[in-house]
Symmetry: C2
Subunit: 300 residues, 2 copies
């Protein structure tokens, strides 16, 4: 029974990721005006084998609340959030940031295309995300979708988290609240946003939005704690990027402050909290709960 | 009489720039969540003394077509386009791009804050531009405003132009069509966009949009040709950035290929063409025509 559930979830994730990839191909087609090199650089990182967790969360939430129509309406926003996620990885990898040579088992964007094109490929994906939402979403949703995406990926969200990460690098941080603040902004904000974009397309009311916001924050924080743990416990081959790099860069992580076992315990507590939040919704939240579990019980 | 007209225009530009600055201050206020350093870095470049030509074009167009209400409705979009313009300058100045130390008479953003914060300040302004539009515009305009801004600042517009600029640097280009293509994308696209944002807020019909699009393209190209000329003929002090830097970097410019005199002649031809386009509109286009003249007859 348990095996059967895992298999079904795995099928759903694969099918949805394929669907998202198909739309991403279409949204990143070479048109007559854009220089081919920038499209190539954008595609290089977008199609580097990401798991599409964020767009899957968007589509799963939309379908849970509003059915097939909402699922379809959420597709541009789902692809947009994957573009935003990818832009952030390209810029994070730059020599002036984390200076990483590998990501997902392949050369980072600037190692492949040069630093100037990598900066521009990031800018391009960020800009294109808003183009795709505004051009292809149902107009009734556009203003709210753009507001959510720009808010949670901007100075109060993901980008703010990256700023905190940069200014705290190489500092000996022993304050768990600072680490929590960085993680909430840098990772949890965009995961929360993925869910809220789907909720908007699913006509969520205020109460539902609030519950899903809390759910997204808890599961997003758990996701990043697991990321910190995997960086210490998994091999470079398994991760597709150098293992132990947080330690080398003196990044602020949960395991560095409270240890691996306590970090694991906390991740599971956050998972339980988020699953409990789902029970407050009068929808079939089974799929979201399963995805939440997967985000915590992963090995890469 | 001529003097009086110039004085009036100058007063209008000053008053409008002050109004825009007031809104920019509000839109870039420190809120509790964003790290103060990123707000400081964003403000540093936004308030470095830009002439606010793009937002002025947005507001002048909106008011011409729809009066005071349209002017007010266009304010978020006007400020957003100035943020987009500023982000592009910050990223263009980076060591991996033009590697400039000064801009508008002060240190460039990365010289002041470091390369990592400068990349993030650019990303932040780009993201915040869409936040401001989606949060503060009349919802009926939002989708179209976001679509225009992301299109003309993205891979088919300004960003595409920057890519062409980067890949053609240090090449001996003698083909005026390549230079024109770079200029149309890198500079004219955003100037055209400024005008179209105003036109949308002024309820422009399709015919009006088409005429203003052509007007914007012509005046935008003229603006960049004048920029190329000034880089050769004005002093560093006058420009606030190193004079002659295009030549040093082997940038593709009009004067480099057709000479200064022919470039001047072309800029005036484009100005005449754009003024003629305005006569096709059944609105009082006097102010737009005057601004167009100013864009060509400037000395910095």
């Amino acid at each position: 029974m348990e095996n059967c559930r895992v298999e079904e979830l795995s099928k759903y994730l694969k099918k949805t990721a394929e669907k998202i990839n198909g739309y991403l191909v279409g949204y990143l087609e070479q048109k007559k005006d854009a220089p081919p090199i920038i499209i190539e650089a954008m595609r290089y990182s977008v199609f580097a084998g990401g798991k599409r967790l964020r767009p899957i969360l968007t589509l799963a939430t939309a379908e849970m609340l509003g059915g097939k129509d909402s699922y379809r309406n959420a597709i541009p926003a789902a692809c947009a959030i994957e573009m935003i996620h990818t832009y952030s990885l390209i810029h994070d990898d730059l020599p002036c940031m984390d200076n990483d040579d590998y990501r997902r088992g392949q050369l980072t964007n600037h190692k492949k295309f040069g630093e100037n094109i990598a900066v521009l490929a990031g800018d391009a994906l960020l800009t294109h995300a808003f183009y795709i939402i505004s051009k292809y979403s149902e107009p009734q949703f556009t203003a709210k979708l753009v507001e959510l995406l720009s808010y949670y990926s901007g100075i109060d969200g993901m980008l703010g988290g990256q700023v905190l990460d940069v200014i705290n690098e190489n500092k000996e941080i022993d304050n768990i609240e600072i680490v929590q603040n960085i993680h909430l902004k840098k990772t949890a904000a965009l995961i929360k946003c993925s869910i809220l974009l789907g909720a908007v397309c699913g006509y969520a009311d205020k109460k539902t939005l609030k519950i899903l916001e809390n759910f997204g924050e808890n599961i997003g924080l758990a996701f990043q704690i697991v990321d910190d743990i995997l960086d210490l416990t998994e091999t470079t081959e398994q991760l597709g990027k150098p293992a132990g790099s947080d330690l080398k860069k003196k990044k602020s992580t949960y395991p560095a402050i409270i240890g691996i076992e306590n970090s694991k315990k906390l991740a599971y507590e956050l998972l339980e909290k988020s699953k409990k939040l789902l029970t407050k919704l009068e929808f079939n939240t089974e799929l979201l709960a399963q995805i939440a579990e997967l985000l915590v019980n992963r090995n890469k």
